[in-house]
């Protein structure tokens, strides 16, 4: 906390030097970076703008007008027709997958992080190393055996078939982030409770759970985002329209009604809306969680 406060004013003086620092200090390293940033900003903004305005355009207008013109008579028809195409179901399925994955990951990752931080034994340390190694296993490379395991468990074409592997592949990063959150809890707090004779379960409930809330929020947002956007596991592990999640719904929409671009873009908007809401609400948590997980 105090470190943060101490850093901030000094930091600002580095990036926004006072006039006395002179022009030499100011622009040069930032100049090429500023150009790159501006160009990239356009590259990011144009497709996003295209998606949004096209979603509100009628199909006739899409063919007649230029792709970047503002729609002359915006319409919500594209969004309402999505519901006839089953998107309500896809939306619900995606919500179930995202919340199910987050709940499962947090429920097993926090106790594990607690043991890793507070139990110095060799076996617990080696478990942590297993998770660190697990960060490097790409899901694509093991998709065939995962398909085998899911079919053997009789889970093929269920939402649980998506949740289980998605949660497992989110576990390493969740444990890394939560471990670093728990390490920030001062040891004296644990010891004070121990002296009072608290059991590990009590320490967990009274100390670990409340103090790890920022880490839990970061991990929850990050894992939920991954589950919401995941494509590979739903693609390989589900089949029927009833179990379809939004990303698969988008793909299916494109292959079935490829010429209806406004409808497709409305579907893209719909699939991104909950995430955007979450982003506005928890941007700091999401970005700091991402940075904490990978930056170290």
């Amino acid at each position: 906390m105090s470190l943060d406060l101490a850093r901030r004013p000094a930091h600002r003086s580095r990036s926004v030097p006072p006039p006395s620092a002179g022009p030499r200090r100011r622009g040069r390293p930032n100049f090429p970076a500023g150009i790159a940033a501006t160009v990239w900003l356009l590259i990011v903004a144009v497709p996003v703008y295209f998606v949004v305005i096209t979603g509100f355009r009628s199909q006739d207008q899409y063919i007649e007008q230029g792709p970047l013109d503002l729609p002359t008579s915006p319409t919500l028809d594209n969004f309402t027709s999505l519901f006839d195409l089953g998107f309500t179901r896809f939306l619900t399925n995606s919500l179930v997958v995202a919340f199910g994955t987050v709940a499962l990951v947090l429920a097993v990752a926090l106790p594990a992080a607690y043991a890793i931080v507070r139990n110095p034994s060799r076996s617990v340390r080696s478990m942590f190393n297993v998770f660190l190694l697990g960060l490097a296993v790409p899901a694509q490379a093991v998709i065939v055996p995962i398909y085998l395991i899911i079919t053997r468990l009789q889970l093929y074409d269920t939402l649980l078939a998506i949740i289980l592997p998605t949660a497992a592949f989110s576990l390493p990063i969740a444990i890394v982030v939560l471990t670093s959150t728990l390490r920030d809890i001062p040891g004296e707090l644990y010891e004070a409770m121990t002296v009072d004779g608290a059991t590990p379960a009590r320490v967990f409930g009274r100390l670990v759970l409340p103090l790890s809330r920022p880490g839990l929020v970061s991990v929850g947002i990050f894992v939920g985002l991954g589950a919401w956007n995941g494509f590979l596991f739903p693609l390989v592990l589900t089949q029927s329209q009833d179990q379809r999640v939004l990303p698969l719904g988008l793909w299916n929409f494109q292959s079935q009604y490829g010429t209806n671009v406004p409808g497709l873009m409305a579907a893209v908007v719909l699939s991104a809306l909950p995430v955007l809401a979450l982003y506005l609400f928890g941007r700091r948590h999401l970005l700091s969680g991402l940075a904490a997980g990978f930056g170290k």
């Binding site: 003086s13 930032n30 940033a37 990011v44 507070r118 790409p138 490379a141 497992a168 059991t199 940075a291």
Partner: protein, 296 residues
């Protein structure tokens, strides 16, 4: 004292659910994929042991060298394109001016979108008849606007869209790492009269060394296994122009139902990825540096 302390430590049982769960869906598949590479399995029924026949089939796979070549090309183009861009923008976005904070929010937008949403958006944007490509392709030297339909260009277009998706993530890594560089280093350099460019090359770049390595490993290993976007955008075409090795694996396994051979390709991919990250880490001395820090 010591006994009561030991009693209050969380036992290994706290980590057991996470470890068992991860073992089932993260570790077991790594071994299972090696086993499956020695079997014949069409996705139904049971895998049948066939020894080395899948491995021998590698020699007859006419797509193999094309796949390896495309994968390596995509990996190199992704690394060369994304690293300098993310580095520049990340350093730039590390500043604390309000404008940068607002722009950063936009930069990170692609992080929120699913691969499926990004892919269908760009397929629509790049449609040579109605998309943006039809109207503006001529300014980029592609008068017919046919970006994805051209065997020479398709892979580079894919690399561009992959960059669109992932540059924000790497930017985030560089941004948070840049913010951790001690301000005193810049102040000292300023006293010595170092120019901004000099400061960037003498302070910022060396201080970001670990981040550059970490981000590079993520890009390299990621490019080796990522195929969802290619499946969605070109399905490996036109012809086999974008049929990278992981997509080849997916098609063999889940379209051709030759799971045994797909497992061979998966093992090849994991081996390539591990070898590549070990080489990068060894060459750069990253491993030695982090273990030094841990020991200190």
């Amino acid at each position: 004292m010591t006994t009561s302390k030991a009693a209050a430590r969380p036992g290994i049982i706290w980590a057991a659910p996470a470890v068992l769960f991860f073992a089932a869906f993260g570790i077991l598949p790594v071994f299972a994929v090696v086993y499956l590479s020695f079997t014949k399995w069409n996705g139904l029924g049971d895998p049948v042991w066939t020894g080395l026949s899948n491995w021998a089939a590698l020699a007859d796979d006419s797509e193999l060298f094309n796949g390896i070549g495309k994968t390596l090309l995509l990996t190199v183009v992704s690394w060369v394109g994304q690293t300098p861009l993310a580095l520049l923008i990340g350093v730039w976005a590390a500043g604390t001016q309000r404008s940068r904070a607002v722009l950063s929010t936009l930069f990170f937008l692609p992080l929120l979108l699913s691969t499926a949403a990004i892919s269908v958006t760009f397929v629509s944007l790049l449609d040579p008849n109605f998309g943006l490509a039809a109207d503006y392709g001529k300014y980029l030297g592609v008068p017919d606007g046919n970006f994805l339909g051209s065997p020479e260009k398709a892979l580079y277009v894919i690399a561009f869209v992959i960059a669109w998706q992932f540059v924000p993530f790497h930017t985030l890594l560089y941004q948070s790492a840049t913010r951790q560089i001690p301000v005193s280093l810049y102040e000292a350099a300023q006293l010595d009269g170092a120019t901004g460019v000099r400061q960037f090359f003498s302070i910022t770049l060396p201080q970001l060394r670990n981040t550059i390595i970490a981000s590079s490993v993520l890009i390299l290993v990621g490019s080796l296994t990522y195929f969802e976007m290619i499946l969605l955008m070109t399905n490996g075409g036109p012809g086999t122009a974008t049929r990278v090795l992981p997509l080849h694996m997916y098609i063999k396994g889940f379209v051709g139902f030759d799971m045994g051979y797909a497992s061979v390709l998966a093992v090849v991919l994991v081996t390539l990825g591990t070898a590549l990250s070990v080489v990068v880490v060894r060459l750069t001395g990253y491993h030695r540096m982090t273990s030094d820090r841990e020991g200190a």
